[in-house]
């Protein structure tokens, strides 16, 4: 009889390197951050070796932090919504294109991901600045110039720009799986183009749209470079706040506390959303 032990150990051996890698690079720093967030901190002497909940209490009772959390949530939600509103029709048009154009436009859509985040963001700040292209154009037509740079608007514009591919690709994939005759069937039954889209095509791509929103929301809520460069010093989001606590205030435990709170909040929102997605998937796709 063949010994069973080698066959049992093979999966462990195969999964081992990956698991070690994950533990070393994700779980360990996360655990250290969690522990750090409970350390006491003193402005003159630095991190103390005593444990306290005071950072958590300070964060959740301070309007300053709550406002930043609220702004982060608002910007991430708005970005997700705009990505869905723009990305879903974009994916539909893409799926109806003939081949040379489809490849060209697919490249245009994933273009932002191919450009370094710093270059891309500086590009936006040049466009949106007080003497940027947008304001010059407004002045040319006799409109007063507007302040876009260092506002939430600038952050949302730049985030939508880079997040769009994460919405378009899953929706496009869902559309690819659709039998084009199903839409045609709706037309023959008397549905207009728009009704067929709304009643027949859309319900079948919601799953792609929901998973796209999950990615967009998660990435937007934890975005760092875009708010850092386009939000300026005062308009902070969660990730830039953590950065400032660590590197400007040197209050590492407080920074760690904020990071943990953001992580947990993000996790809760995404898990709840995912449950919704799966419930829906089970209902329509089996």
């Amino acid at each position: 009889m063949i010994s069973r032990s080698p066959t049992i150990s093979i999966p462990w051996l195969l999964a081992g390197p990956g698991a070690l890698f994950f533990a070393g690079l994700v779980l360990l720093p996360l655990a250290l951050t969690l522990i750090l967030s409970f350390h006491a901190y003193d402005h003159s002497t630095g991190i103390q070796n005593t444990f306290t909940l005071s950072h958590y209490i300070a964060v959740v009772t301070d309007d300053y932090y709550l406002e930043i959390f609220w702004r982060t949530l608002r910007i991430a939600a708005l970005t997700t919504l705009l990505c869905a509103v723009i990305g879903v029709p974009e994916a539909y048009i893409l799926s109806r294109m003939k081949d040379p154009w489809r490849s060209v436009f697919l490249l245009v859509i994933i273009g932002p991901l191919l450009v370094s985040v710093v270059v891309r963001t500086f590009g936006w700040s040049m466009l949106l600045g007080s003497q940027g292209l947008v304001n010059q154009a407004l002045q040319l037509f006799g409109f007063p110039s507007v302040r876009i740079l260092y506002t939430e608007t600038a952050i949302v514009i730049a985030l939508v720009h880079v997040m769009l591919p994460f919405m378009v690709i899953p929706v496009w994939t869902a559309l690819q799986k659709l039998d084009p005759m199903v839409e045609a069937a709706a037309w023959t039954l008397g549905a207009s183009h728009f009704t067929a889209l709304r009643r027949v095509v859309m319900p079948q791509v919601t799953l792609g749209m929901l998973s796209g929103s999950l990615i967009v929301f998660g990435l937007s809520a934890s975005a760092f470079a875009v708010p850092a460069l386009l939000g300026g010093r005062r308009l902070k989001m969660a990730a830039t706040l953590v950065y400032d606590e660590y590197l400007q205030e040197l209050n590492w435990p407080l920074g760690a506390t904020i990071a943990i709170i953001v992580l947990v909040a993000n996790l809760c929102i995404m898990l709840a959303y995912n449950r919704m997605v799966e419930a829906r998937a089970r209902r329509t796709l089996g």
């Binding site: 023959t188 027949v200 319900p203």
Partner: protein, 350 residues
């Protein structure tokens, strides 16, 4: 007056012509089948009528109105798709109700009509299932119900019965025919099953390589096929190539008596005779002597293959309750010369 007409309709996909110069006139209430081998352009023709493909050339009109460029949702035709094209996220009942909803039929009437349509296709107990929970034949019946429920003036059916078992298929054929008679729905049905086309239609349109080659009533199509391809595609037949001799067809060294008014002596011809038109006689007493190669018992009839000087012939005789000739025994074939059909040109094996 013609209800639905196609005038020199063609469809090209790039350089490939899928349908070429189709002319067809269909009367109100007629049941027409489109019959032809796979890839001959049946679905393409149907989709042009439905408005899902735009003809490259030609004109389509319905009830005196030019609909060549009209949107499919304005034509109001009922379509059953070859791939069914059910809405996967809707239940069977919702699928069937969709067309009524688009027509703003009141809720109570809608429910009633959906119920009727589902009972017609024997799916009443499946109303709350999703298409993925159905078998192929059940999906096909949902597609039929969805097209029937809107009571369209024209029904376009793309192989609507291909996935049903023999009994259900016969029942559905009967239902389609009954609805068509009762409501007077003009019906165009695509099929590649010649028996179905013959049994159910008022007229059969035979298509080959994108062209219409014969449009006729089933009986005439069977008895007077216009070419060798049709005679072998519609029903079984024996095809023999030979030369026309004025008063008969010369096949090899044998001349078989027949008549063909339009053919010049010396021209190459194809001779066709149906297996059931041939009689088996005792050796020496018929027109052509031969030997039984094999015989198959089919219940209501016997099917023989007989080796003769002009080639192997298939013969079918009704089962009369007595034992017919055994394999290897000499027999003689006889027929009435009127049942020999002579067509110009040589047969392409089909």
């Amino acid at each position: 007056m013609a209800f639905l007409t196609l005038e020199r309709v063609s469809k090209e996909f790039g350089t490939f012509t899928a349908v070429r110069d189709v002319d067809l006139t269909i009367e109100k209430g007629e049941f027409v089948s489109l019959l032809g081998p796979s890839g001959c352009g049946k679905t393409t023709t149907l989709q042009m009528i439905a408005g899902l493909l735009e003809p490259t050339h030609g004109r389509i009109s319905l009830d005196g109105r030019d609909i060549t460029r009209e949107k499919p949702n304005r034509r109001g035709l009922g379509v059953v798709f070859q791939s069914y094209a059910l809405f996967p996220h809707m239940t069977v009942a919702q699928n069937v109700a969709f067309g009524l909803e688009m027509r703003r039929v009141p809720q109570a009437e809608r429910t009633e009509r959906v119920r009727e349509a589902l009972s017609l296709v024997q799916l009443s107990s499946f109303a709350d299932r999703y298409p993925r929970q159905l078998s192929g034949g059940q999906r096909q019946r949902v597609a039929i119900a969805r097209a029937l429920v809107i009571a369209p003036p024209v029904l376009l059916l793309d192989e609507p019965l291909s996935n049903l078992d023999a009994k259900l298929r016969e029942e559905m054929q009967f239902e389609l025919r009954r609805i068509q008679r009762k409501v007077g729905t003009t019906t165009i049905m695509v099929t590649h099953d010649q028996a179905e086309a013959l049994s159910i239609s008022d007229r059969v349109v035979v298509m080959e390589n994108g062209k219409m080659t014969q449009v006729d009533a089933p009986y005439r199509l069977y008895e007077q096929p216009s070419n060798a391809f049709i005679s072998s595609f519609v029903g079984k037949t024996n095809l023999l190539s030979g030369t026309w001799r004025g008063n008969g067809a010369q096949i090899g060294n044998v001349v078989l008596e027949a008549s063909a008014p339009d053919i010049a002596p010396g021209a190459p011809i194809t001779l066709s005779i149906r297996p059931e038109k041939i009689l088996l006689r005792d050796a020496g007493s018929g027109r052509l002597d031969g030997r039984v190669l094999s015989r198959f018992f089919l219940g209501s009839q016997w099917l023989f293959t007989v080796e003769t000087p002009v080639g192997t012939m298939t013969v079918s005789i009704p089962n009369q309750g007595n034992e017919p000739p055994t394999e290897g025994s000499p027999v003689s074939l006889d027929w009435s010369p009127a049942n020999l059909r002579i067509m110009a040109g040589t047969a392409t094996a089909a």
